[in-house]
C-alpha cells in the first residue's frame, strides 16, 4: 500500500563557483526517489539560488519508502556541454514513517560531493503522507521504531522485551566492478554510497518485519555493521533487541524531580525511562572472564572456550562442542537453576536468548555469570547468489550457537550486552561475538506470567544481587574462589567479575572507576588462503589469553575487582594481529577485596636477581596503594570466609602461568605484601614476564582532575555540569622497521594508545574536572606496517565542589534557587499583564513546547523557533552516551545512520592525510548535525563511528576514506527549563503575592 512522499526545494546558499567566467553558478536541482525524477528550474547566475519549487510528489509503496533514500542532486546548468554535478544530499525517509518520530524534515542540509566534500547547503522540505496498511502479508514494517541506544530509551517504558533480532543482506561491491574498465572515482563512490543506503534501508525493513512478527514495536540496541569483503562482496548486517515500548506521556509529573536525584530514588519510579539523565538505567552485572581463562591449567584448552576458532575449510571439527569441552562439558549436565526454571523455559524457546542491551529496567537482570565470547576464522569466497546469503548466515549461526552453549555452561539462560564484529584482511575474516551470560527475570518476557511482581523469586538487595553466582557452586564451571557476598552475606559471589554490560546504577560501588586497557601485538608470517587462516586460528587463543592476563593484572594493580563494558577487539593484518581489550574497572562492594600482586622469581639463588624482584615487588605494592588512594577505594574491612573453592590452594588457583613447567613446590615463599592469602602470583621466568611487568608499571597515570571510563557512567561521579564535548581522534602509525619482535611491537602499540590518551587529556584540559566517558577505541591494520587507532568519546565536566554525599543535596539546593529565580521573573511578567490568558507566552521558546499537549505541536513550535530565528545555525549536541547531563530527552526523532565516502586526488593540496581526514570528519559531523536539526532535533545520543576505513597512496597523491556513523536524533530540554514549566501553573495562581517581596 502506498504512501505519498512530498519534497520541496526552497533555496541554496554558499554554492561553489561553477562558471569561472562569471564567478557564478546556474544551479538547478534533481529530486529522485526510486525511478522517478523531478527537476527544478535553473536559477541563473547566483551562488544563493532561490528555487522555491512546487511540491514534488512521489506515490510509492511503503516498502520503497523504507528502502530508498530521497536523492537530491544539485547541478550546474551548462548550455553547451553536460551539466556538472555540484553535489548530493541523501535523505533517509525512515524517521517520517513512524508517527512518534519526526513529522517533517526541513532545514539547511550540506550538499556533499565525494571528491570535493561539502559544497554549500540546500534548504528542503520533506513530508510523507502514509496510508494505513492492514495487509497481513505486507513486506514493509513502517512504524517500528529503531534505537541505537542500548537501554530502554528515556521517554519510553518497556512493556515487553521480546529478544534477539538479526538480519544480513549481501551485494556485489560496486567498487570492484571497475576492474576491467577505468574507474571513475565519483561514479564509483556514489554507487557505493547509494547501495549502502539501500541495503541499510532494506535491512531495517526486514528486521522491522521480524519485530512485528514477534509482536514488538521497537528495536533497541540496534547495531548495524558493514563488512567490506572486497571482491567477494559487501555485507550489511544488523542485530538488535525487539521490544514493546510504551511512551511515557505524563512527563511533567516526574519533572519535578531534582536534576541530581540519586539513582535509588529513580529506581522507585514506575517508569525507568523517566530517570534523570545523570543516571543511566540500571544495568547488568559483571562476571569473570577470568573464570574461563584461568580455569584450566593447560592454556590451549582453556582458550578454546572463548575463541573457538574455525576456518571454513578446516572447521568441521565442531569447536562449539569440543573446544570448550574443558569446562563447558563439565557442568553442562547438572544445572540446578531451579528457581529460574520458568524464565528459563521461556528463554529456551528462543533460538538465541541474546540481548543487545547493556542497561536494563530495574528488576530485569538478576544474576551475571561472566563474559562469553566466540571467534571464528573464515575464508571469504565470492557470494554467488546475493539473494540467498546462506554462507554468511551459517557462519554467524555457528558462532551464536557457541555463545549460547557457553552461557549455558555458566548456568545462565541468557546473554546480555551482546555484540558481533568482524575483522577482514584480504580473504581472511575473523568473526567475533561476545556478551555476558546472565539470568533475567521473566518480568518482561513474553511467555512469563504478566503479574511480574510475583515473579521476584529471590528477594535480593539490588545493590549486590547481580553479583551472586548463577551457577551451582558444587558444579562450578571453572575453579573459582567463592565467598559470601560482602553486602548481604547470604549468597555467594566470585572474587572477580568481568562483563560486557554497563555498571548497573543500583550497584554498590566503592570509590571511583577507571579505564583499563590491555594491548597486544603479535607478528605472524605472511601466508595465503587456508594456511593463513590456520595460522591465525592458532594465534588467537594465545592472544586472548594474554589480553586477559594483562587485564587481570591491571585490574589488581588498581585494587579493583570487576570490569564492565569489556570489549575485546582483534584485528588482523598481513603480518600481524592486534588485540585491544578495553573495560572500566570498578570495586564492587559485594565482591571480596582483591589480593595484591606477588612476583616470584625462577632462580631464587641469584642475589641480585632477588634484589631486582623485591624492588619490583615494592614498586607494585606502592602503585597499588597509590591507586587505591586515587580511586578512593577503601572498603570496610571484613572477615573473609572462603567457601566451596574446589581447589585447595588458593595461590595455585589464581596464578598466571607463564610456562607450562611450573611445579607445585614453587609456591611463594615471599611474604604476601597485602596480607591476603590469595595474592595474585606473577611468576617471572623469562624476559617476557619482566617486560610485561615493566609495561604494567609504566602505564601512564591520568593527570589530576581527569577520570576515564568506557561505560555510560563513571561510578562515584554524579554531579555533571552541562558542558559536554564529543570528539573523534584518529591516528595512524607507520612501523618502518620491518623486523620487530613481539615485545617491540607491543611497546609501540601500547605507547600509541597511551600517547593518544595523553593528547586527549591535554586537549580537553580546559574542561577539568572532567571525565572521558564511553572511550571507544577501534584498531585496524589498514595495510602492512600501518596501525590505525580511532577513538570516539565524550568529555563531561562535573562539579568537584560537591562531594558524593552532599552532591545530591546541594544539587537540589541550587536547582531550587534557580527555580525561585525563574519564578520570580515569571511572576513579574505575569503581573505586568495580569489579564494574560496565556501565561505561557514566556520568554523561553521551550516552555511553549511543553504547554502544548500535542506532541506534533510541540515539535513544530520548536522547529519554528529554530529555523526562523535568523541565519545562525542551531546548536546540535552529540554524545556517545544515551543521555545528556542536566537535560531530559523528551522525544526520539528516529535513527541516524549515515555512510559517506570521500576521496581526493590532490592529497598534498588538502593538507596531507591529516588535513584530508580532519576535513572529512568535520564534514561528517556537520552532516549529522544538519540532518538532526532538519528533523527538529537538538542532539544525537548513542552516537558512534562504526567504521572509519582510510586508504592512502601518497605516491599518487591520492587518498580515500569511508565513514559510517549512527545515533539517535532527539529533542532534549534543559532540566531547569522543565522545572520552570512544571512550577509555573502553581506560581501563576498562588505566588503572585510574593513577587513584590521577591523584587
Amino acid at each position: 500500500m502506498p504512501g505519498k512522499l512530498k519534497a520541496k526545494i526552497v533555496a541554496g546558499r554558499h554554492l561553489p563557483v561553477m562558471d569561472r567566467a562569471s564567478d557564478l553558478t546556474d544551479a538547478f536541482v534533481e529530486v529522485k526517489f526510486g525511478n522517478t525524477t523531478f527537476k527544478t528550474d535553473v536559477y541563473p547566475k547566483s551562488l544563493n539560488p532561490q528555487w522555491n519549487s512546487e511540491w514534488f510528489k512521489f506515490e510509492v509503496d511503503d516498502e520503497d519508502l523504507q528502502d530508498e533514500p530521497l536523492q537530491i542532486t544539485v547541478l550546474d546548468h551548462d548550455t553547451y556541454s553536460a551539466n556538472d554535478a555540484i553535489g548530493k544530499v541523501y535523505i533517509d525517509i525512515d524517521p517520517l514513517l513512524c508517527s512518534e518520530a519526526a513529522t517533517v524534515i526541513s532545514g539547511w542540509l550540506p550538499i556533499y560531493d565525494t571528491i570535493h566534500g561539502i559544497r554549500g547547503e540546500i534548504n528542503v522540505l520533506v513530508k510523507v503522507d502514509l496510508f494505513n496498511d492492514l495487509n497481513r502479508f505486507r513486506q514493509s514494517s513502517c512504524g517500528v521504531k529503531f534505537f541505537c541506544t542500548t537501554s530502554i530509551p528515556r521517554c519510553y517504558r518497556a512493556i515487553m522485551v521480546h529478544g534477539f533480532v538479526e538480519e544480513l543482506v549481501v551485494n556485489e561491491d560496486p567498487e570492484y566492478q571497475w576492474i576491467d574498465r577505468i574507474r571513475t572515482p565519483r561514479a564509483s563512490n556514489e554507487a557505493r554510497q547509494r547501495l549502502i543506503f539501500l541495503m541499510s534501508g532494506e535491512l531495517q525493513r526486514k528486521i522491522g518485519l521480524k519485530v512485528l512478527e514477534m509482536g514488538g514495536n521497537a528495536v533497541v540496541g540496534y547495531l548495524q555493521c558493514f563488512d567490506l569483503e572486497g571482491e567477494s562482496g559487501l555485507v550489511v548486517r544488523a542485530i538488535g533487541t525487539a521490544c514493546t515500548l510504551e511512551k511515557i506521556s505524563t512527563f511533567p509529573a516526574t519533572a519535578t524531580y531534582p536534576s541530581n536525584s540519586s539513582p535509588s530514588k529513580d529506581m522507585k519510579e514506575p517508569g525507568f525511562g523517566e530517570e534523570t539523565p545523570g543516571v543511566p538505567l540500571s544495568s547488568g552485572p559483571p562476571t569473570p572472564l577470568r573464570a574461563q581463562t584461568f580455569s584450566s591449567f593447560s592454556p590451549s584448552k582453556s582458550y578454546s572456550r572463548q575463541s573457538s576458532s574455525s576456518d571454513t575449510e578446516l572447521s568441521l571439527t565442531p569447536k562449539t562442542g569440543m573446544g570448550s569441552g574443558g569446562s563447558a562439558g563439565k557442568e553442562a549436565g547438572p544445572l540446578k537453576a531451579l528457581l529460574r526454571q520458568q524464565t528459563q523455559s521461556a528463554l529456551e524457546q528462543r533460538e538465541y536468548p541474546f540481548f543487545t542491551l547493556t542497561a536494563f529496567p530495574p528488576g530485569f537482570l538478576l544474576h551475571v555469570g561472566g563474559v562469553v565470547s566466540a571467534r571464528s576464522v573464515k575464508l571469504l569466497d565470492r557470494i554467488h547468489n546475493p539473494d540467498e546469503p546462506e554462507t554468511r548466515d551459517a557462519w554467524w549461526e555457528e558462532i551464536r550457537q557457541e555463545i549460547k552453549s557457553h552461557a549455558k555452561a555458566l548456568g545462565c539462560h541468557a546473554v546480555v550486552g551482546y555484540s558481533e564484529s568482524t575483522s577482514i584482511c584480504e580473504e581472511v575474516c575473523i568473526l567475533s561475538a561476545s556478551g555476558t551470560a546472565a539470568i533475567l527475570s521473566s518480568r518482561f518476557m513474553q511467555d512469563g506470567p504478566l503479574d511480574a511482581e510475583h515473579r521476584f523469586e529471590e528477594v535480593v538487595s539490588p545493590g549486590c544481587g547481580f553479583c551472586h553466582i548463577p551457577y551451582d557452586e558444587l558444579n562450578i564451571p571453572f575453579p573459582a574462589q567463592l565467598t559470601y557476598c560482602y553486602c548481604c552475606r547470604h549468597y555467594k559471589v566470585p572474587d572477580v567479575l568481568f562483563t560486557t554490560i554497563d555498571l548497573p546504577t543500583e550497584a554498590n560501588v566503592t570509590g571511583k572507576g577507571c579505564l583499563i586497557q590491555a594491548r597486544l601485538c603479535r607478528t605472524k608470517k605472511k601466508a595465503q588462503g587456508e594456511g593463513n587462516a590456520t595460522a591465525i586460528s592458532n594465534l588467537l587463543p594465545f592472544l586472548e589469553y594474554e589480553l586477559h592476563t594483562q587485564l587481570m593484572n591491571k585490574l589488581k594493580l588498581r585494587g579493583m575487582n570487576a570490569l564492565f563494558g569489556l570489549r575485546i577487539q582483534i584485528s588482523v593484518g598481513e603480518t600481524m594481529l592486534l588485540g585491544l581489550a578495553s573495560a572500566t574497572g570498578v570495586y564492587l562492594t559485594a565482591l571480596p577485596s582483591p589480593g595484591g600482586i606477588q612476583i616470584t622469581g625462577k632462580t631464587p639463588s641469584d642475589i641480585t636477581y632477588e634484589q631486582h624482584i623485591s624492588n619490583m615487588q615494592k614498586k607494585i605494592n606502592d602503585t597499588i596503594t597509590k591507586n587505591k588512594e586515587l580511586y578512593e577505594i577503601n572498603p570496610p574491612e571484613v572477615v573473609e570466609e572462603i567457601i566451596g573453592s574446589p581447589i585447595p590452594e588458593p595461590c595455585q588457583r589464581s596464578r598466571l602461568f607463564r610456562s607450562h613447567s611450573e611445579s607445585s613446590d614453587e609456591v611463594s615463599e615471599l611474604d604476601l605484601s597485602h596480607g591476603k592469602k590469595d595474592a595474585f602470583v606473577l611468576e617471572i621466568d623469562d624476559t617476557d614476564a619482566v617486560e610485561d611487568i615493566h609495561a604494567l608499571l609504566t602505564d601512564f597515570s591520568i593527570p589530576a582532575g581527569f577520570y576515564s571510563c568506557n561505560t555510560e557512567i563513571m561510578p562515584g561521579i554524579q554531579n555533571w555540569t552541562s558542558a559536554i564535548q564529543m570528539f573523534t581522534s584518529v591516528r595512524v602509525f607507520r612501523l618502518n622497521n620491518a623486523n620487530l619482535t613481539n615485545q617491540g611491537l607491543n611497546k609501540i602499540f601500547s605507547d600509541l594508545c597511551e600517547n593518544l590518551l595523553k593528547s586527549l587529556y591535554f586537549k580537553l584540559r580546559s574542561m577539568v574536572p572532567c571525565c572521558l566517558c564511553h572511550l571507544n577505541f577501534t584498531v585496524a591494520i589498514p595495510e602492512d606496517e600501518l596501525i590505525q587507532v580511532a577513538v570516539t568519546a565524550v568529555a563531561m565536566s562535573f562539579d568537584k565542589e560537591q562531594s558524593l554525599e552532599n552532591g545530591k543535596q546541594s544539587g537540589e539546593k541550587t536547582l531550587i534557587k534557580a527555580i525561585t529565580d525563574e519564578q520570580l521573573q515569571f511572576n513579574l511578567e505575569l503581573n505586568a499583564e495580569t489579564s494574560s490568558s496565556n501565561p505561557l507566552s514566556s520568554p523561553k521558546g521551550i516552555t511553549m513546547e511543553k504547554a502544548s499537549p500535542l506532541p506534533e505541536g510541540r515539535s513544530r513550535s520548536l522547529r519554528s523557533n529554530r529555523s526562523y530565528s535568523g541565519s545562525s545555525v542551531a546548536v546540535v549536541k552529540m554524545t556517545p552516551l544515551s543521555f545528556i547531563p542536566g537535560a531530559k530527552i523528551i522525544r526520539y526523532l528516529g535513527i541516524i545512520n549515515m555512510f559517506f565516502i570521500r576521496e581526493t586526488t590532490s592529497l598534498r593540496e588538502e593538507g596531507g592525510v591529516s588535513g584530508f581526514l580532519h576535513t572529512f570528519i568535520a564534514e561528517v559531523f556537520a552532516m549529522v548535525r544538519a540532518h538532526v536539526a532538519a528533523l527538529g532535533g537538538n542532539a544525537v545520543v548513542s552516537y558512534s563511528m562504526k567504521e572509519c576505513v582510510f586508504m592512502e597512496n601518497p605516491n599518487k597523491n591520492q587518498a580515500q576514506c569511508l565513514i559510517n556513523v549512527s545515533g539517535d536524533a532527539v529533542i532534549f530540554v534543559r532540566e531547569s527549563e522543565l522545572e520552570l514549566t512544571s512550577v509555573q501553573p502553581q506560581s501563576a495562581t498562588t505566588q503572585t503575592s510574593n513577587c513584590g517581596e521577591g523584587t
Binding site: V732, K758, L917, A926
Partner: protein
C-alpha cells in the same frame, strides 16, 4: 616509526586562544611548540613535547581550515562545518582582522596593490613581524578595501556590517581604507615620527567632517571622497591673510585673549602673520590633488616643526589654536564662518594629535 596521521575533531570545535595568536603571528609549528614550552605548557596536564607538537599541529590545521571562512566573516555564523559558540566566533574574527600598528604604519597611504605586496619582505625585516603575518594583514587591508570600495553609505558601519568587527577595529580599518583611497603622503622622513594611531585619528577627523558622507546621508559611492565643493570653498579663506585689516583685527583679537596666558606670547605675536598664513595656505591648496596628498607633510613642515623649534608647549598650542579659530567669529567682514569652523575644527585636532616628538 612515525605518526603518519593524527587528527582530533570535536563536535564543538576546540580552539586554544594562545595557539591561535601564535598562528596569527605567523609562527611555524615547531616555533610555536618551542614558545609554548617556554611559556610552561608542559606543566599542564603532564604533557610532553610530543603531545604539545600534536596539539599545535592540530590547532594550526583547524585555523587553516577556518581561514577560508574568516575571509568572509558573515559566513562564519551560518556555515555548518564548524560548530563554534558565538562568542568564540567573534573572538576568531576580531583577532584575525587585528593588525600590528607598526605594520599598518608602513603600508599606510600606499596603494594596496601587488607592487606593495612585493615590498612586504622589506617591511617584514624592518618591523620584525613574520612575513606570513604581514601577508595576512596586507591581504586583510586589501580585502576590506575591495569590499567597501563598492558599497554605499557610511564607511565604518559598512566595515562593521560586512566584517563583524568591533567598533574600534572597524574605525582603524576605515582609516586604512581612507588613506589607501586618498593616497596621502605618509612615508617622508619628516613624518616618520607619527604613529599609525596619529594618522588613524586624523583620518577619523577627516572622514567625520570633510567627506561627502559627513554632510549628506544619501550616498552614491564610497563616502570617503572629500567633498569637492567644500575644498573649493576653502579658497575663500585666503581673505584672512590677504586682507590686511582683517589680518590685523584677527591678530589683535587673538593677542588680547592670550596675553599672559601663554609662555611664547611674544614669539606668537611676532609671527602671527606667518602662523595664520601657513594654516590658510594649506586650506587654499587642498583642491589640487598633489597638494591634498601632501596635507600631512605640509602641516608638519609649515606649522608643526616651526612651533617645535620655538619650543611651544602643547598647552600653548592648544590655547593658541582655540582662540585663533574662535576669534574669527567676531570678524564682521568675514563671511565664511561655516567653512572656517569645518576646516579649523579638523585641522586643530589633527595638529594637536601630531604635535609630539
Amino acid at each position: 616509526m612515525s605518526t603518519e596521521l593524527d587528527v582530533f575533531v570535536g563536535n564543538t570545535t576546540v580552539l586554544d586562544e594562545d595557539v591561535y595568536q601564535l598562528w596569527l603571528d605567523g609562527h611555524t609549528v615547531s616555533n610555536a611548540v618551542r614558545i609554548r614550552m617556554e611559556a610552561g605548557a608542559l606543566q599542564e596536564c603532564e604533557a610532553n613535547a610530543e603531545v604539545l607538537h600534536s596539539d599545535t599541529m592540530d590547532q594550526f590545521r583547524t585555523f587553516q581550515m577556518c581561514e577560508r571562512l574568516l575571509q568572509s566573516p558573515s559566513k562564519v555564523a551560518n556555515q555548518l562545518l564548524f560548530q563554534i559558540p558565538p562568542h568564540r566566533q567573534t573572538m576568531l574574527i576580531e583577532r584575525y582582522y587585528e593588525f600590528d600598528s607598526v605594520f599598518a604604519r608602513e603600508v599606510l597611504g600606499k596603494k594596496l596593490s601587488k607592487g606593495t605586496k612585493k615590498d612586504l619582505d622589506d617591511i617584514s625585516s624592518k618591523t620584525g613581524i613574520a612575513l606570513k603575518c604581514c601577508r595576512r594583514q596586507f591581504d586583510n587591508f586589501k580585502h576590506v578595501f575591495k569590499v567597501v570600495e563598492e558599497l554605499k553609505g557610511p564607511l565604518v558601519e559598512n566595515i562593521q556590517r560586512h566584517f563583524l568587527l568591533s567598533d574600534v577595529l572597524a574605525r582603524d580599518y576605515a582609516a586604512i581604507v581612507f588613506f589607501a583611497n586618498s593616497r596621502f603622503e605618509t612615508g617622508k622622513r619628516k613624518l616618520q615620527y607619527l604613529s599609525f594611531q596619529d594618522f588613524a585619528f586624523c583620518a577619523g577627523q577627516l572622514i567625520s567632517y570633510w567627506t561627502v558622507g559627513a554632510v549628506n546621508n544619501v550616498m552614491e559611492d564610497l563616502d570617503v571622497d572629500l567633498e569637492k565643493e567644500f575644498l573649493h570653498d576653502l579658497k575663500d579663506l585666503k581673505v584672512l591673510v590677504n586682507d590686511k585689516d582683517m589680518l590685523d583685527q584677527h591678530k589683535s583679537l587673538v593677542c588680547a585673549q592670550l596675553r599672559g596666558k601663554i609662555k611664547v606670547f611674544s614669539e606668537m605675536e611676532a609671527s602671527f602673520k606667518n602662523l595664520s598664513r601657513a594654516l590658510v595656505n594649506i586650506a587654499s591648496k587642498l583642491t589640487h590633488t598633489k597638494d591634498f596628498r601632501d596635507l600631512f607633510i605640509d602641516l608638519v613642515e609649515k606649522f608643526i616643526e616651526p612651533r617645535r623649534s620655538d619650543k611651544w608647549t602643547i598647552g600653548d598650542l592648544r590655547l593658541f589654536l582655540k582662540h585663533y579659530s574662535s576669534s574669527v567669529h567676531t570678524l564682521e567682514a568675514f563671511r565664511h564662518q561655516v567653512i572656517w569652523d569645518r576646516y579649523m575644527g579638523v585641522i586643530k585636532s589633527c595638529i594637536l594629535k601630531m604635535y609630539h616628538d
